[in-house]
Amino acid sequence: MVADTDDALFAVRAAEGDEDAFAVLVQRHAPALIRLATSLLGTAAEAEDAVQDAFLSAWRRLPEFQGRSAFGTWMYRIVTNRCLNVLRSRRPVASLEAADDVPAAEHTTSPARIAEGRGAVRELREALDLLSAEQRACWVLRELDGRSYEFVADAVGISQEAVRARVFRARRSLTQALGAWR
């Protein structure tokens, strides 16, 4: 709460052209936003580009921001939308090619151990690439980032009902993909 109040002050200063105040906001929020973008996009390089673009867009839009929401929430929304655009512009990934990279499971490990292992995580990453942009965004925000349906609906800009439908479809695809692996 104190951090939010503080953010609001720095956001107002930045809106009035104080770039040092903006630098404080960048440093403060970049780690969480990089984490979010990496989850959404899957690669660190793309995540950095998305977060950089989002901050530059924020700098340009700050004079109209008026502090209607917390700065962090505003940035979260901008990064989510930036990542959604990146996901939408991606060409569908050929899943067969990617499947070759999965190392053979060790025969001695139990299924449960495999499920927690890196092989399964890699398989999950690849299965995420097969989701639609919206499914992926909703699923990542809900499941990986632990946000409420209400929050996700606001960040993605669709209804809660639509978010639930996408998370459901994503879960179906992902459980099927992981089931097929085992």
Partner: protein
């Protein structure tokens, strides 16, 4: 609205839902799982349990992915990214208007954003005060161009401070800074208290987290 890839939402989850052999929809069973509903059917029905088992398996892999993401995020150095962003920001500065300094004949100016930064810093020399918006308008009667400016400053004040005295001190510091540091002719300093903040902050946290 932002949805270009997916089919229209009117069918919601039902469109590709699955009816389990027990007569329940997969979406409902998963929904109950997510809400941690205590439903005897869920515990006893083999079909529902199998359906939930799939989600549990997914969840355990998700945990692994979350840990990987956490550990790579923990070692992330924001310095290079911040530098790249600020390099571009500094090419797109919004310095505001030039404001007159000194005597009218001197033809000396300062950009509004630069002056505002100095005045905010001056206001924050009063313990517990944080400065927000700082607007500078042409002073003089009717906002004429007589080389003076009016300052309107928003502050967050410590909740336990007597506000009139606090405002007077802030006004004094702002006035001094405008006069001595900048050489700016200020005709008025309007202070607006926009928030009261708990003053339990430790003293060593001077000037906030900046």
């Amino acid at each position: 609205m932002t949805d270009r890839t997916d089919p229209p939402n009117n069918a919601s989850a039902q469109a590709d839902d699955e009816l389990l052999p027990c007569g329940r929809l997969l979406s409902r069973t998963w929904d109950d799982w997510e809400r941690q509903t205590d439903d005897p059917h869920l515990r006893s029905c083999p079909h529902c349990r199998q359906a939930v088992h799939g989600l549990d398996d997914l969840e355990s892999v998700v945990r692994g992915l979350r840990e990987e993401t956490d550990s790579s995020a923990a070692g992330y150095d924001t310095e290079p990214l911040t530098r790249r962003i600020m390099d571009v920001v500094r090419l797109e500065l919004r310095p505001g208007r030039p404001l007159p300094l000194g005597e009218p004949a001197e033809d000396l100016w300062i950009m509004e954003a630069v002056a505002a930064r100095a005045l905010r810093a001056a206001a924050e020399t009063v313990p517990g005060v944080r400065a927000g918006s700082c607007r500078l308008r042409d002073g003089g009667d009717g906002g004429g161009d007589d080389g003076t400016v009016e300052v309107r400053l928003d502050i967050h004040a410590p909740a336990d401070a007597p506000l009139p005295e606090l405002a007077a001190r802030v006004r004094e510091r702002v006035w001094e800074a405008a006069d001595r540091e900048l050489g700016m002719g200020v005709t008025a300093v309007d202070i607006r208290v926009t928030d009261l903040v708990p003053s339990s902050m430790p003293d060593d946290q001077e000037g906030g987290t900046a």
